[in-house]
């Protein structure tokens, strides 16, 4: 009987009180769920917003760092060129000094050789002087022996 009544009411677009209560309860539940989802979405949105802000901040920092790095690279490049110029200059100086050292060594060797030869000749001369002095002494002695009449 109840089912027939419900069919008749449904046919004219009406519902029973129980059906209305049930539908109202469902609507309230759906509204609560929607609120909860809304709240979660709001929270999530805030989280994403915060992350976005942080990421933006980091990106800004990196950007700044990149700018600094580029400036550093530019400075370093400038300095490298200076250093390279110095290197070329010092290399040229070192080569000049090495040449000078070689020349000096050759001159020193030559001086040493000449000194050795000179020393040898000096020694030969000393020997000759020894001989001359010895001969003079011998001749002097012989002359003295013959100079005076023997008694």
């Amino acid at each position: 009987m109840k089912a027939t009544i419900r069919k008749i009411l449904a046919g004219i677009g009406l519902a029973t009180a129980a059906q209305v209560r049930h539908a109202a309860a469902q609507a309230q539940q759906s509204a609560r769920k929607a609120d909860q989802r809304m709240a979660r979405l709001r929270t999530s949105a805030e989280g994403w917003k915060q992350r976005h802000e942080e990421t933006s901040k980091v990106a800004a920092e990196w950007k700044h760092a990149a700018v600094d790095a580029r400036a550093n690279v530019e400075r370093a490049t400038g300095r490298l060129e200076q250093v390279q110029a110095h290197v070329v200059e010092w290399k040229a100086r070192a080569e000049a000094l090495a040449t000078q050292v070689r020349d000096l060594k050759e001159r020193l060797d030559e001086a040493r050789r000449v000194t050795t030869v000179a020393r040898q000749h000096l020694m030969a001369t000393e020997v000759k002087l020894d001989l001359i002095e010895a001969a003079v002494q011998v001749l002097d002695a012989r002359t003295r022996e013959g100079a005076l009449p023997r008694s």
């Binding site: 040898q120 020894d130 010895a134 001749l139």
Partner: protein
Amino acid sequence: MSGIPALSIVVASRNDDYGGSYTDRILKPLQFNCERLTEHGVSFEVILVEWDPVPGRPLLSELLPPELPDMTASVFRRIVVASEYQAALTQNPRVRFLEYLAKNVGVRRAAGTFVLTTNGDIMLGREVVRALAAGRLAPRTVYRAPRYDVKLGIDQTGLNWEALEDPANHDRRPTLRPPLYNGGTGDFLLADRDTYHWLRGFNEVYRAARSGIDFNFLVKAYGGGVAIAEIGGPVYHINHVGSMRISKALYTSSTETPWGNLRWHSRHVVYSNGDGWGLSDAPARQLADGTTYLDFDWKAVPPLVELRRVVLPSRQPEGLRA
């Protein structure tokens, strides 16, 4: 002896009691050496050059032969050099014995394939005699041997190699070092006769000193490209009072010694002896006992000074101090 001896031993001396009586100083070492060489089959002659004999004293040439009856006059050759040569050749009256000129007299007249200039008081070591006996000596090489000094006053009676080799009997055992292997040089200089003649013996140009002439010979040999080598063993010398090694410290001046100037430039300046080196132009006559006597003749005497004969060696040993 017949034929050419393998070895001529040249010693120069005089009967002046230098270093003790001639018996100990010359006779015993001479006997020792001759016995060892004979035992090992080395043919040899000994040439004793008696330089400037001491007036009023018997000649060693007379005293020694009776003590060596087994040695004929051709094996034990005696050459007496007239005293006038010392007087005519001297450049320094302090140097009473021109030892190396005397040795040159022997070298010039030596007949052996090899010539050893040494001193009368030197005894040949075992390895030296073995090397001579083995005939493994090379030409154009000056051989050297270190001189081991045997204790002063050791009894020479029956002295043999075992006693000589005993380190307990040694005062000094030097080590010779290249390139010249100098040290006690005058006690052992062995080379083939041709090399000695090519070098024209010891320095006869600088006669103002007796010391350093032996070293000077090595410098000349080295400069001339002659090899210098150690023979492989020592010779022995009985220490005696008056030897240069022991006595030179007694002299305060390096010039007023019986060996002349000890500091002349013997390590750097050499010589070119004249053709008549070794008194080759001295007139010689044979005495009745077989001794050769070199009479004096000015023709045999080189000029008092010949500066052109003072020369520099064509190569100098490294590291010799001036």
